[in-house]
Symmetry: C2
Amino acid sequence: MPSAAGRGQGPERDRRPESGEQPAADDYAKERYGVSSMIQSQEKPDRVLVRIKDLTEEKADEVVWVRGRIHTSRAKGKQCFLVLRQQQFNIQALVAVGQHASKQMVKFAANINKESIVDVEGVVRKAHQKIGGCTQQDVELHVQKIYVISLAEPRLPLQLDDAVRPEVEGEEVKTLHPQICFNISTSTSQAVFCLQSGICQLFRETLIRKGFVEIQTPKIISAASEGGANVFTVSYFKSSAYLAQSPQLYKQMCICADFEKVFCVGPVFRAEDSNTHRHLTEFVGLDIEMAFNYHYHEVVDEIADTMVQIFKGLQERFQTEIQTVNKQFPCEPFKFLEPTLRLEYREGVAMLREAGVEMGDEDDLSTPNEKLLGRLVKEKYDTDFYILDKYPLAVRPFYTMPDPVNPKNSNSYDMFMRGEEILSGAQRIHDPQLLTERAQHHGIDLEKIKAYIDSFRFGAPPHAGGGIGLERVTMLYLGLHNVRQTSMFPRDPKRLTP
Amino acid sequence: MPSAAGRGQGPERDRRPESGEQPAADDYAKERYGVSSMIQSQEKPDRVLVRIKDLTEEKADEVVWVRGRIHTSRAKGKQCFLVLRQQQFNIQALVAVGQHASKQMVKFAANINKESIVDVEGVVRKAHQKIGGCTQQDVELHVQKIYVISLAEPRLPLQLDDAVRPEVEGEEVKTLHPQICFNISTSTSQAVFCLQSGICQLFRETLIRKGFVEIQTPKIISAASEGGANVFTVSYFKSSAYLAQSPQLYKQMCICADFEKVFCVGPVFRAEDSNTHRHLTEFVGLDIEMAFNYHYHEVVDEIADTMVQIFKGLQERFQTEIQTVNKQFPCEPFKFLEPTLRLEYREGVAMLREAGVEMGDEDDLSTPNEKLLGRLVKEKYDTDFYILDKYPLAVRPFYTMPDPVNPKNSNSYDMFMRGEEILSGAQRIHDPQLLTERAQHHGIDLEKIKAYIDSFRFGAPPHAGGGIGLERVTMLYLGLHNVRQTSMFPRDPKRLTP
């Protein structure tokens, strides 16, 4: 057990809280509080630390040890009220002059800097009335011992309570604080990132159940595919290389090597100077590629079902997190259909025209039109998730398979959540001759994509796939407004730290 | 259904096999074979394709459709024997002149280039004797129709059968073929990478069950921690940045933000000019970080148990893959103890000295000594997996927590599989004052690691963690000899493609 006297077996140092007091010799409670020496794994005590979320009326009158942060503290005569926080949960703790605590001990407790981590021994007591502002409303902790485990500096860069006040309509999205630890410490952020972890888990769980194999694709590559725009350059020993803008080539090579169904989860790099609410220079791609038998809709159906399984899993397993986020960012629950709604591009264009938008058959969708179409689809079909199929060939990359019926269309699709694109995908051309023709049509230097085209020379199954942006899925599922809220350490043209 | 006449709805092109024949008008079987037009998702036929691995005696006398690659073909009078391959499985198929097949059809089948993908309709027949060289030994397929779906070029860069012949003792590890699709198409590679996918799955499954949260950490970073050696530089708009050598700082920030238990899976970049059997410039890191209560062994035990769960899961779920790899690379089954053997560094040094090695108490382990120690441990304790704990402080990074009893030691550990290091980890210093002292001792510029040290100023729980190299775990579990065999697209100082 860490010694309470501040002079453990670790290196000798001054561990006195700036405005706190170490116990004095004539204090009858002097063994019951203090600053522990740094935990350097000196001992293995058999003390059990109870989780704050488990402190309920069932534990009334038990003596427990708890580790938490000082969320708030308020001294009042011979008493000090602390709120102890542990992740999304908190409890009120009372230090009062009496048998266990001396006047000095109460003063010590009151002076511990906020955010410091403490070990507290206390008796769980039923509260006389509900304790507002705490997640554990029915009990409080009557403190018998309190030791500082890690002392926070007295001047915090921001107050956590300020960071989680509900969003006001029209107000600008709060900029991220440079001391990002605080940004990810709020109960909202804890919930956002637990849910994001859940999205990855559900994505992989579902695909592994469907017989997919996870692959690892390289991020440092020798040639920028698709012509080389928007790509970061890396110094590679005496030469140079690029950061992969997509794992697509590698997914396709695995398909050519008969892996049949593959997925990968990893960083994707885009050197676009875009400063919007939904662009990052580095984001996490959830990528799928799959050989099919006769029609790329076999793949579209698998991807759409994977998204549906994710939505269902989030509903079932992450209600607490969704509600925590909703407190700060109120939002309608995410709606989806089963099976997923699939519209053709021309149908989407028709709906937009009906709503007064002027656009040509082969024009791409602008961001405002995407959002408008999302609202129109929601009104008509009552879903926040749908597929737009058969994009004009002209607006898609050269490797997209042309539609066999109408050569102006293509076997390609986007998927949308709350009116914003989260996935782009297509049947890929698996025939080297057609691929060459299409690359030439796009004015791409064949020499630069020779390795790509050569991948298909030794028998390639027809295949399709797509890439999903993780941060966008998290943002749109939760109805947040900026992708920086769903990236722990966002990267954009102006932001490289921490 | 794709038309057999080679003139589907797709772009008009010559799809004739180089040495094959399209059906002639006077051929009674002319509808039963040919080169299909490119599958462009023209139709959604309700044809069911049966998996080759499911073709067993139970299916005898059924008519089935199968898609596979021409693995080998051998014409013999009025018959042609094909071996059709699908992933790790294959079956013999017979095209013989008769009611269904004409002389021309047999000739067509015999002339299809190897590795081409074909759709075959055939009757499953019991074989009169076991068919050697095929995984489906008890049945063969009597072909009634055969259509080429994707034609391979006639000159293959290597023969798959050559690539999987058993390793000969002392022979140099085969260099990877530049046409890597073939390198990852072999049954051995299929098995290696399926098992690797399983390692990732078991790693995450186990940690999520233990209450860990998956995090995503940035790969483009503004400052090279640990002083800046061996780091790749990236052009970042008008400035420059680095590729992360480890997610450690970010894992630790999550611990400071009370995530308590986190893990991540992602690429790690090391600009080391090392050309060894176990170094890559880009590899996949399985990283863990965890707050503990009083002793870092709480974390060591969790990590070791995670490895044990992986080993057990591989044994249970991947026997087929292990056996497939063993055919080419024979190897003793991987042995481990439960709980995992943990030796102190000084015990390891004593064992080495007893075996004649001369080394000082604070010397680091050389690679040959690591391997020797692995053999000694295996002899004495009969395990291929163990932990070496309490490394000398002098050989570990500045952020390693010193041992509280012997200041020349540290709270750090490595884990070994078959005598090679797969994980390096430690209790980290969570106190900014001690961290500053240790950085100064190592001569590190404090200005460059200010953000790192500042992360611990607002209360930091004691924590420990470690990073595992995925490719090494796969290599050592399977007893392979080069980490390039367990990376689909390996990167080293001399290799950036494909």
